[in-house]
Symmetry: C2
Subunit: 129 residues, 2 copies
DNA sequence: TGTTGACTTAGAGTGTGCTCTAAGTAATAT
DNA sequence: ATATTACTTAGAGCACACTCTAAGTCAACA
């Protein structure tokens, strides 16, 4: 699979795929005889995973640390584990903030709907006079 | 309350408080005779709210739109409502991504703990020989 | 055979959201 | 009186995460 197809499939731009490879968020991708990237299912999964993590608010740097840990490319010290725990704690806080925000906006939307309905009813009454 | 105290209380830097005021994310703050900001409980709540929304991944622009809508400083059109609904949908997606990421990291941490325990047990056995 | 189009690279440019700087004012302490 | 400290402003600078540009290579089709 070419990089453009991988982009289509994952919703991550070709530039960003190349950038993630350079930054080590995904593995180095094999090249064909012409020097072009040949992307397989494993890389697709890694791109999608990176996309999820970035969308969840994980920084490039934090994601790199995580990837290095899981890929066993660096030593797995207790310090690395502590970094991971911190990241989980950050995410839990962010998740709670998001839920708060969703609840808040939904409440306001319902409220707003009420206003709309009132306005619509007023209009209807005027029309039926 | 001075801006530095508000910063301490909310965990938002003085620079950022001034920036949020300039951008209209919080109301214009009253000044005292010296021209310094006099921050009250209402402003504190607004700063905290902005902090929550930002932490939830809402952009400055989107937050401004929302604030304008709720503050009734602009006309409340159905278009504005649609914008809000989009923001809620975005946040729900982001929340799900975060939960996915948390689950993933927690699983890896448990796995990692197993490795640690094995290593510890091996050490203990060696010591008890 | 030439030109179209997708790929490659290194590196420059961009938008967002702060964060810092410089220059100035005002209140307080010595 | 003067020094310190916290505030003010406009605007410059910065980190992050892309995103675009330029210059070049390669395969395929007219």
């Amino acid at each position: 699979m070419k990089v453009s197809e991988a982009s289509q499939l994952t919703g991550v731009s070709t530039d960003t795929i190349r950038y993630y490879e350079k930054e080590g968020l995904i593995p180095i991708i094999d090249r064909n005889d012409s020097g072009n990237r040949e992307i397989d299912e494993r890389i697709i999964r890694r791109i999608t995973f990176a996309k999820h993590m970035r969308s969840a608010g994980m920084s490039i740097k934090a994601l790199k640390q995580y990837v290095d840990l899981v890929d066993d490319t660096e030593d797995n010290t207790a310090k690395q584990k502590a970094i991971l725990r911190e990241q989980v704690a950050d995410m839990e806080e962010r998740r709670d903030d998001i839920q708060f925000a969703i609840n808040h906006l939904n409440y306001k939307l319902e409220h707003y709907d009420d206003h709309m309905k009132e306005a619509e009813n007023e209009l209807r009454e005027l029309e039926n006079k």
